[in-house]
Assembly symmetry: C2
Homo-oligomer: 411 residues x 2
């Protein structure tokens, strides 16, 4: 029997405990692993729950118990989670986590510590909730050179953008609805500014390219400036506006991780991913494009991923694996991570008081777009492909006319 | 260094060999596994290839070489592949395969043999080509009770149906185009009659529910009777006709595996999966719906899955795992697998020379559909939900009027 400790009895923690006891027999039959929870670390009173006898308020109970071989860190936050994870790993206890903030900021250090102590640090639940993505990249796609990936990585913003596109809502009304339905946090900054998606792109970029990518290296643009008008142009064009996190290798050998609202054409599967669903496409030299789709958050979906990692940690106890990725210092990251302006592609632009002639003189052969009740002096168009540096120079020339600009997504 | 043998140097076999040597260094770095191919079993002359020195025409060279610990069976067919696989497993050599026919017919026996000999029989490449599906079900979703799955499992038929829907082609023209582009075999029977998809549903059903499901137990309907008219009604309705393989647990505890053309509504992601792409949705109690999407066939995508299994077989050498699924005799399968007529749902029906009154008297409150240039005396509609037994009784009453009928897909 594998003795487990769960750090935190919040949404994901309680879901993990419930799921393990609900499906314990089926898990044993399918995987040969018999899970038993010995401790739940929680400050709040648990006396009303069926798991009160497992509660401890002292991490040392867990650290000092050699029977506990795997720990699920589902507390969130950085400070305590970081300290507790380090102490567990130092004692050879594998740690699995849903804590994307911690992995994005401290992943390289914690993976190294796990490696040195012959245990695992696993984080499937930190990206894409229920969607299997970390393990498929590590194992199912192991024979591929992966050149990049892209994804809708945040359910809250995808819900908001879906409402703006399909029901013509403006950003603030759609955000209010998301809050009302429990899809947005009280402080929605992390979601709407793209920080949550950015952490996930850090984790995925690090995994694919083998060196830690920190949030401060990721170009990040949120969705707060997207308007119902932009969404209407996208829909009329046959596509959608989506918040896309992506990373790819440029021709100069550097990688370009970014999170930004993007015009996605109707032929791309991302344009059909609605509401709180997430989708992640991985591009490999042998497989071409493979996409994973499902619920990117939520109590039981996230608990499913945490529990799968617990099972995997138990199954692979004592085995050694190569280090997932290495540290990347601030200095070396400059040689490794491209300036976002080195990327290229087409852009959607919405302007006022410009003639077609002025537009085409500046941007070249653009594709003009339209929408219902478009004002006379408003124009919207898709530019030809150019580097973002060149694009920014052009945009700087029409500051007063510019209403909005959004990158067009390309694989 | 892990010494490997590859049985067969056809499309998948040569792809596997090429991929292993192309990405050998990257595979070693990522997984710690250094792959080296010692033998390629092939009758045809390989002297023009870079791998001629590895050729053998005698399986005994491989069977008797203790250095060879993992064998990739990519020959296809049943007879030799079955014998060779058995002999390898008996000697404790793990076998990985892309041979869906063999797994669908002999999986239970070969898995048991692998289990008894403490080696692996892995078959990720047998379903969904490049798409990771077998391992995600076994590991990433291990904490879930999986209640069912559904998928577009055959690229050839999906290409044909896409052409019928988007370009109004009829079946035979679309099939001819698929042949011309190399998407259809010389004898396309296995694809267009649904047999290929049926084998994949056998494998997935066996894996999810733990008992072997044989092709003869799967209700199977191909796409040869689908017309451009049916596709036009589906498109007008906002959806598409897709060949869907599915399995689910009914309320009576039996499972219902089937392959059939299906009306898929526009809100379902399947309706947007076009051309030769495959998509598989898995329904679990914790994750809800998770979908996997990508190229379901092709040389390098399939080679990617074969190679990932080789790596996994090497990594887990000597470990023991629970048996994936058990034998299910013809007698016990009757208590286990439902009559397809016990399933229920709505149906699309196309008739001629029937009044609205006659139709609603027979089927109840139907939803009438339309299409461009619909003949006066043709009607098409979606029925209310009913068991297929009741539906068949109704259909039997309008034999002369019936033009076509297609099940409406429901998760």
């Amino acid at each position: 029997m594998a003795k487990i400790a769960v750090l935190g009895f919040g949404v994901v923690g309680s879901g993990t405990v419930e799921l393990i006891y609900k499906n314990r027999g089926a898990i044993l039959k399918k995987t040969g692993v018999d899970l038993d929870i010995k401790y739940i670390l929680e400050i709040a009173d648990m006396s009303g729950t069926p798991y009160a006898d497992k509660q401890t308020k002292d991490i040392n109970d867990i650290l000092n118990d050699d029977e506990v071989i795997t720990v699920a860190e589902v507390m969130g936050g950085i400070t305590h989670a970081y300290e507790f994870t380090k102490e567990c790993l130092k004692r050879g206890k594998s740690v699995v986590t849903s804590n994307k903030e911690l992995v994005a900021h401290k992943g390289a250090e914690l993976l190294k510590l796990a490696n040195e102590n012959n245990c695992r640090y696993l984080f499937e639940a930190s990206v894409g909730g229920a969607i299997p993505i970390i393990r498929p990249i590590k194992s199912c796609l192991a024979a591929n050179e992966i050149n990049g990936l892209a994804g809708i990585l945040n359910g809250t913003t995808n819900f908001i953008l879906t409402k703006m596109l399909k029901e013509g809502m403006d950003f603030s009304d759609a955000l209010a609805l998301a809050s009302k339905l429990g899809y947005a946090e009280k402080d929605p900054t992390d979601d709407v500014e793209g920080y949550d998606a950015s952490r996930k792109i850090c984790i995925l970029s690090s995994l694919i390219f083998g060196r830690h990518v920190y949030p401060e290296s990721v170009y990040c643009e949120g969705i707060t400036k997207i308007t119902a008008e932009d969404a209407a142009y996208a829909e009329n064009w046959g596509g959608a506006v989506k918040l896309i996190g992506s990373v790819k290798e440029l021709e100069n050998g550097k990688i370009l991780p970014m999170v930004r609202p993007s015009f996605v054409c109707g032929g791309n599967p991302f344009s059909h991913i609605s509401d709180v669903f997430n989708g992640i496409a991985v591009y490999g030299d042998a497989v071409g494009e493979v996409m994973f789709y499902g619920r990117g958050a939520g109590k039981m979906p996230t608990a499913s991923a945490v529990t799968a990692d617990i099972i995997n940690a138990v199954q692979t106890r004592g085995e050694s694996f190569p280090l997932e990725w290495e540290e990347c210092s601030a200095a070396s990251s400059k040689d490794y991570i491209a300036d976002y302006q080195d990327g290229d592609g087409a852009f959607y632009v919405r302007v006022q008081s410009m003639t077609e002639k002025q537009i085409t003189e500046l941007f070249g052969a653009v594709e003009f777009l339209t929408r219902a009740s478009k004002p006379e002096d408003e124009s919207a168009f898709i530019t030809p492909s150019m580097t973002e540096r060149v694009f920014n120079e052009k945009i700087a020339q029409i500051k007063l006319n510019l209403l909005n600009k959004i990158k067009v997504f390309e694989e």
